[in-house]
């Protein structure tokens, strides 16, 4: 194709893409006037605090429109996720290497913690975000005072090391298997006296307890919605909380029998289902992965949603 043909096509494509944008016939005059008077002409971006408040309001407004009830911890985790990204650079994809839990603080705050998964518990440490209403009251990392320089040799791994672990090889389009980093992790655990087996035993009282046998029968007696209804609520809730497109929502997949369970989530009786995003899509997105949705068995309220990125920690 000749240069002129390419030029014409690119002009048409760019102009068509942006044709809805309006120019300002008085822009030059406004700039000159306002520069003389010292006023600001360029719209300023919203502050992060305001953005977080808007995120919360949008979530609640959309949820109301969809008829979904979110427990307090759901918007709190969205605010905490944003704060974690802004303060420490931890993305949703990186979060797949952490276990996120929430707890209610004595002063009515929501305490959201992200702790390194399994044998990564020490090296990744624990992030704690305290959310008070629509604002972040405090955010900290258990390794805040540690030196994270030195790549994978550092004794605490932050954003840089997570970037390295999750890096996609441009040639293969894949990321390295997590176990290939085990020699580093084991050495760090050893040097800091972190015993994974002992840690597992300490962690017995889990945030999520899967019910079995008679407990399941008892739970079913209190179930106010059918499995199908729970799945529908879960799909809508994931769409609202993670801002998915209508196409992504329409392509969600789920296997009710395989993946559903009756659980206690931090003491609340819930129906758990897994929603898969991206499996049926032709294009990969950052939102592809498994969403675990916990629905209050008696009220149908969304108690929590956890996201495991397909391109995150699910690589063995």
């Amino acid at each position: 194709m000749k240069d002129e043909q390419i030029r014409t096509q690119i002009h048409q494509a760019v102009d068509a893409h942006a044709e809805h944008l309006r120019t300002d016939p008085f822009l030059a005059q406004r700039i000159m006037n306002q520069e003389r008077t010292g006023e600001t002409v360029v719209k300023k971006r919203l502050s992060v605090g305001l953005v977080l408040a808007i995120v919360l309001m949008l979530l609640m407004a959309t949820a109301l429109a969809a008829g979904i009830i979110f427990a307090k911890r759901v918007p709190a985790t969205e605010i905490a996720d944003q704060a974690l990204l802004q303060t420490y650079g931890i993305t949703a994809r990186m979060q797949s290497l952490f276990i996120r839990t929430t707890a209610e603080g004595e002063d009515g705050t929501t305490i959201v913690t992200y702790e390194g998964r399994e044998h990564l518990a020490y090296v990744l440490g624990k992030y704690t975000v305290i959310v008070d209403g629509q604002t972040v009251k405090n955010i900290s990392w258990s390794h805040d005072r540690e030196d994270t320089s030195g790549g994978l040799e550092a004794s605490a791994w932050g954003k840089d090391q997570l970037d390295e672990i999750l890096r996609i090889d441009p040639e293969t389009g894949k990321q390295a298997q997590l176990y290939t980093f085990n020699p580093y992790i084991e050495r760090i655990n050893r040097e800091h006296g972190f015993d994974y087996e002992a840690y597992l035993e300490e962690d017995e009282d889990g945030y999520v307890v899967v019910l079995e046998g008679e407990d399941v029968q008892k739970a079913k007696e209190r179930q106010a919605f059918s499995a199908h209804e729970f799945v529908q609520i879960a799909k809508e809730a994931v769409g609202v909380r993670y801002h998915l497109t209508s196409q992504q929502i329409s392509l969600m997949s789920i296997d009710v029998d395989e993946n559903s369970a009756y659980v206690l989530l931090d003491g609340t009786l819930c129906y758990r289902c897994w929603i898969i995003v991206g499996e049926l899509s032709t294009e990969e997105t950052e939102q592809d992965g498994a969403y675990t949705v916990y629905l209050n068995l008696e009220t149908g309220a969304v108690e929590d949603i956890q996201f495991l990125s397909e391109r995150g920690g699910g690589n063995g």
């Binding site: 690119i10 494509a13 942006a18 944008l21 005059q29 000159m32 719209k43 497109t245 196409q247 294009e283």
Partner: protein
């Protein structure tokens, strides 16, 4: 003519002409670079504010257009580095690139595909491609705007065309 002493009547005329001449194409180009309408409007305005402030220092060492485009490129680049920009989701979905009018649908679909492919190009290729093909600048001017050599511009344009072709072919296969 560009004013050489602080903003003056002459500078006002020059500036008004620059805004009138380049506002639309700058806005469209920023939209392609930032994939966000509000950010594109901000970047376009910010570019002109910077241009107005820098006008007295402009010495015509490069063309007026190269000078303005360099400011725009730097402005867009700075915006993409802000925390706000980094954690706003601006992936482009087919829904956002609406397909209008049925009779035009096929041609329009091609334009949408091409716009999407351009936005997916790595930044260095996209910058060169937009300046050369969309802003109708020659390779020398593009080189001045991007502060690189003309031979690098030539290489980047070739890569950009190759990558565009690959992206479009892949989409069609799907």
């Amino acid at each position: 003519m560009i004013a050489e002493q602080g903003p003056s009547c002459n500078a006002e005329e020059t500036f008004s002409r620059l805004v009138a001449e380049y506002q639309k194409s700058l806005l469209h180009m920023c939209a392609m670079m930032l994939r966000d309408d509000a950010a594109a409007e901000d970047a376009m305005q910010e570019t002109f504010v910077k241009a107005w402030r820098a006008l007295p220092q402009f010495r015509r060492e490069c063309s007026e257009k190269s000078w303005l485009m360099r400011i725009a490129m730097n402005t867009c680049r700075d915006m993409t580095r802000t925390a706000w920009f980094r954690h706003t989701d601006r992936r482009v979905t087919p829904e956002e690139l609406q397909l209008p009018a049925q009779e035009e649908a096929s041609r329009e679909e091609d334009r949408v595909e091409l716009a999407q492919a351009i936005m997916k190009l790595p930044r260095k290729y996209r910058d060169a491609l937009l300046l050369y093909y969309y802003q109708d600048m020659n390779q020398e001017e593009v080189a001045q705007a991007l502060n690189i050599s003309p031979s690098t511009v030539s290489k980047r344009l070739k890569h950009a065309r190759d990558k565009l072709r690959t992206l479009l072919e892949r989409r069609r296969e799907i």
